[in-house]
Structures are given as C-alpha cells and as structure tokens.
Symmetry: C2
Subunit: 409 residues, 2 copies
Amino acid sequence: MRDPSPARVSDEAGQPAGLTRAEIISVGTEHLLGQIVDTNATFLCTVLAELGIAVYFRSTVGDNVRRVQDVFRHALARADLILATGGLGPTDDDLTVAAVAEALGLPLERNEEAWAHVQEFFRKRKRPLSEQQEKQAMMPRGSRMIPNPRGSAPGVIIEHRDKTIIFTPGVPREMKGMVEDSVVPYLRERGLAGREVIRSRVLRITGLGESAVEDRLRDLMRSSVNPTIAPYAHTGECHVRVTARGGDAEVEAMLARAEAAIRERLGNTIYAADQATLEEVVAKALATKRVSIAVAESCTAGLLGHRLTGPPGASAFLDGGIITYSAARAMAESVRRQAGTDLGIATTGIAGPTGGTPAKPVGLVYLALAHAGGTEVREIHVGTEPGRAGVKYLASQAALDMIRLHLLR
Amino acid sequence: MRDPSPARVSDEAGQPAGLTRAEIISVGTEHLLGQIVDTNATFLCTVLAELGIAVYFRSTVGDNVRRVQDVFRHALARADLILATGGLGPTDDDLTVAAVAEALGLPLERNEEAWAHVQEFFRKRKRPLSEQQEKQAMMPRGSRMIPNPRGSAPGVIIEHRDKTIIFTPGVPREMKGMVEDSVVPYLRERGLAGREVIRSRVLRITGLGESAVEDRLRDLMRSSVNPTIAPYAHTGECHVRVTARGGDAEVEAMLARAEAAIRERLGNTIYAADQATLEEVVAKALATKRVSIAVAESCTAGLLGHRLTGPPGASAFLDGGIITYSAARAMAESVRRQAGTDLGIATTGIAGPTGGTPAKPVGLVYLALAHAGGTEVREIHVGTEPGRAGVKYLASQAALDMIRLHLLR
C-alpha cells in the first residue's frame, strides 16, 4: 500500500522490552474459497493495537487437522500470544481445539462449566440437545472456558509454558462480544497489555478532494513521524488518519496537537472526528438548532431522506419530502412552502448510465437550498466514473454538506 | 464457522495429482493495525477456486524485511504458487520484491519495460518523476513484469525452480485489473489451472426465515456431499449456497440439478440466483411489465424510493413519491391517485429507538400496496433487535417483496 507511515510507527521502531508479540489465526475453509471477508481479523488487530500488543503476523487456514497444526506450530515459534477464531462448533469440521490439543500433547477432557453452558443454551431455546453438542465442551486439560452469552460454543484459553492461546468462535457477533467482555480484561489482568498503545484519530473532511487535502498537509505529513498523518480517499469525502504510539496520556496529547494543526489548515471542511457520519452531524445540528426541513429529491430519489432519517430523532425536524422530476430551485422553494419548514432542500440531475445529453451530461447535479434568506443553487459535475450509485451518493453527500454549512452560519 | 460443507468439498477430498497448491500473502502494516479489511485476499481466493487451484493458506505480514522473508519461506515450503499483494510502491516501506529477491539470492536489476511504463505513467499525468520512482522498475534477475494500466507499480512474476511467485499491487482496483487482464491468462497458459474447478451458485430467498429454509432443505443438505448445500442468514433475506467441485460441464450440471431440487421446495420465495438484488428484480419486473408505481414512505423515509431507483431506468416506472407521517392504507391509495400510477406502495411504522408505545412498539411496521384490484395491507413485527437501520431496511425489503409477488400474479 502507498501509505508508509503506520509501518514506521509499529514495525520499524525497536521492540520495547516486554512487548507481547501476537499472531491472529482465522480457521475456516470458507475463507480460502473467498466466500466471506475476514472482518474478524481486522477487529482483533484494532483491539490489540489499543492494548499495545504487537501483531506481526496473521494466518488463515481451512478446516483440516494437519494444516491447522502446521499454522499453530509456526505461530508458537514466533508469537507469545495466539488469538484464533473459527472452528469451535459441534460439527466434524469444527476441529480447531482438538487439532491444537493434539499438537501440544494435551488430552481433551469435558469442561463441566462449558458443558453446563451448552446444555443451558439449548434448554433456553427449547432446541433438542444432540450428542454432538458435547464436543463444544471438550477442552485441553488445564485450559479454561470463556463464556459465550451469544452462542452455543464457549471460548477456550490455554496457558502452555510461556505461550497463551485463545480460541474464539468464528461468528463475528459472538467473537466480538467475547473479546470485549472477557478476552480484553483477561489480557490486562495477565499483564500482557503493553505500556505503549497505538491509537488513531480520524478527521473526516468533505467538500475538499484528496489532492487538495494533501497539498495543505504535505509538510505536516512529511515532518511528523510519531504521530503519523495520512489521508485516505473515500466516496464523497476524505479521511485524515493520525496514528500515535506511546503511553496513554502521551498518545492523547500527540493526537490532540496533530488534530489542532490539521484543523488550522482545513477549517470547517472537517465535519467530524472519528466515527460520526455526515448525516449524524447534520441531523444533530438540525435537532439542536430546532431547524425543520423538507426534502425534494429527483436524482437522489429518496437517498437524502433516507440518510437524514438514519440517525434517531429525525421526526423532530424532517417534515416531509417528495420524490419528483423537476428543476432544483423550484423544487426546494415549493417543498419548503408546502411543508411549512425552515429549510427546503432539493436534488436533481442525471444519475445515468443513460439519459445524458451534451448539454446535460451524466453526472451533472443541481442542488438547491431554500431558506428564509433566499435560495442557494449549486451545480456540481461528478462525471460518469462513479456510476449511477456513485452519482446518487455524491449528490446526497453534497446536499447534506450544504445543510451543514448553512447551519454553521 | 458453522457451515461444514465447503470444507468437505475442498479440503477433505483427496488431492488430485497435478493440483496446484497456492498461498496468498498480503503485505502491509495497515492490515496488522486493523486499518483496512483485506478484500484483496478474498478476491484472489475466488479467482483461484474458479481456476481449480487449491488455496490452503493465507498469510498477512507488515512492512518489515525479516518478517516478509519469514512468511515467504514458509509459503515456499508448502505451496507451488504464491500470489502476493502490497508493498510494490516507490517508498521505503514498499519492500516486498526486494525482500523476496534477497531471500532467493537473486540480484535486483532494472527491468527496462517496467521502467518505460513508470516513466510513461508520470509523463501522461504531467507529474514530476522523482528518483525514488525507479525502485518500481527494479526486479529480480530473470523475472518478468506484469503491466499495470491503472497505477504506477508494475507487477512481477518470478519462476524459481518449480515455484512461481506473483507480485501484485495492494490497491484493490489495480490488483483486480492486473489479475483479470494478465495473471489469470498467465496461469492458464502455464498449465497451473486445474482440471477440476470449485464453483458456487447462490439462491436468494426472501419472505422465509433461515430456520424455515433449513427445515425444508435439511435432507438435501445432509445427503448432498458434492455439491454441498448450505444456508446463510442475511438481513431480510436468506442465501442458499450450492458449491460443486469437478470438471467444468460436470459442475454446471451438478449446480443445475441442485438448483432444481431447491426450487421445488422453496418455490417463489426464491427471488433470484447469484448476483441480482431484490430491488434489481423488482425494477426489472416493473419495467418489463410496464407497470408504474409511486411510493409513500414514513418509516423507510426515502430508503424504498432509493432502492427502487438503484437499478438504471427507474424513471420509466417511478412516477414520484412522498415522505410523510400517516397511515399506510390511506398513504398508498393517496399516492397512487395523486401520481396516477398503476401501483401505490406505502410504509409506516416505528423505527425507534424511541417513540414506541405498548400498543405500537418499536419494530411494528405497516405496509400497504394499492392497485386496480384493491389495497393490501401487511403488518410485520421485526422487534427491537435489528435497531433503527435494521427496521428501516427490513420494511423496505418487505415492501419490495410485496411488489414482486404482486407482479408474479
């Protein structure tokens, strides 16, 4: 990838004494057939970075005893902590724990706490308990179970010599819950979390392209090694990721200083930091300022209303909308008048792929915002490359930004 | 993961003579920090399955010479073909090719074809060519370059003893283009593609829950080993994946037979096979049958109009819409009358998280479809668990399905 910065933060710096080296192992043939995208491994990396635990390798293997053992052997040779997901269920193909127990020379025994959990899980759901289900309670001697309130298969922790192996289910909801509820506290208690953490802050920009963002930040990006600063282009917006490594308070201070320097250069093109979406920011501003709005949509055809009502509480400010085919200025003024709202917002344009003319090409979008002080009209050209869905999305993005900027005045 | 079936197809069957064993390696510290989801590896797995090449392992490593070499050494010991992505760019952290060349004892030389490509890339974009860019043309002696029409870094193929190593960029668009344009033809020409392919067909079901689908297919799922049949739950729909392994014609016949058997049991709850979405199926049916429609949205607040206009050509049948707060039957009839369309569809309900009452709890949704023969009203309860976005989506899904089933009559 093109951004070299995070590498310098995590990989090229010397390894501090006592730093835990972790490896993530995803088990399941569905990964190797390309049938699912491995968001579990991504989630686990984020959690470990926040704990200051270094992840140097990730491995993926199918439901095959010999190959699972091969992957765990490599991992045990180069990591202190192994976090595995998948293959904990009741079927013949769920073989992760048994394969690793065999490789370590540990006999499998029924864990009574785990067995009670499995039985309870089936009783509560009034589902018949088959013999096969007992498998989920079979664990290597000396290991401990991790509760799984969201599914039938408990997790397993093996502490073997100086290594720790943690098994979690492959179902993302169960895995995430288990990691947050039990694995993170366990890693902290065991003292495996590092004194240094790696933490990121993402500043979200709209209305300014990636190259313009880069131009304004180039010297900062070059001179700053910790934290690193790197822009990423997304549809209709640009994110600047600041990544810092150090002690908890030190990292917070570094992130805050970098954010201040970036805000100085990008001003109110930054609509939020971290997780908030543009629609959430706009919905909050409308609700806080008690501004009502009505939408008239042609090229966005409902997407703008949909995004505005994504965050809760929209009925407090959204007083109606129409999907229509007409001119933007007239639409915005008419919907505002008819709904009796403070604002009227309208979108119209050519989403394509057909319907374009030399005078009105695909990707031409008009936006209008009618308010007490008059009506503003914006013309944007997004071209044909984003495709139909892209044109609709970019038009809704530009409309939300018009509302946001209006409310900033 | 819970579905054991694909494992049996790909992993437990004996390895046919001459089967190419592949390993996928993703290089980039951003993976290990959890900053991106690795869709590249998923894509490559799909491509290799279709070529009948077995993927037994996937590995991910950061931008670190020693660790990159470690991962490639393991891969060379257990695979015939290595497909790597990432770390081909011009910066210091792009070190994949140099690290592997060193591990193999091959000197780096400037590949003149690659260097011409890099120069041309910068000339065309009127960007200054820095000295650093030459790095992208440095390749191990005896290797060949792969054209990259979408970016600056060419790919590299090393044929070393009986092993083949292919390097592609980490930028998904560049990688996918290169694989489709050059890598797949290369693998076929070299005879690395297998005689047996692994291919899937996905049947898409709505209006029937996962457990009901399982109940109707249980005996088929149990008795069929090749192809395997497995259901997957998604929001508002269920997918049944049929995966077959064998010669090209044999696989097609197996998939067709399995599809026929499944259709016999699930009837018109199957709305499509493979990639088509529910909105695409509905839009096509409206356009083909020349049926016009208008939407009145309360709880979906634009999402239904948005989904109906996702596929191209919607202006031929969608004659308008309103976002309003009212009762579903009256909304559907009124929007149909006012827009003068064949159909009027309305959604209303409590998306939450607040606004629910004992009589009208969060997750209660009313749908109405007004047509020449009268107005149908449906009441559905999706509960609070899906959350606000889930309630909106499930309501739009049920509305699309009402239109679809009406058009089937």
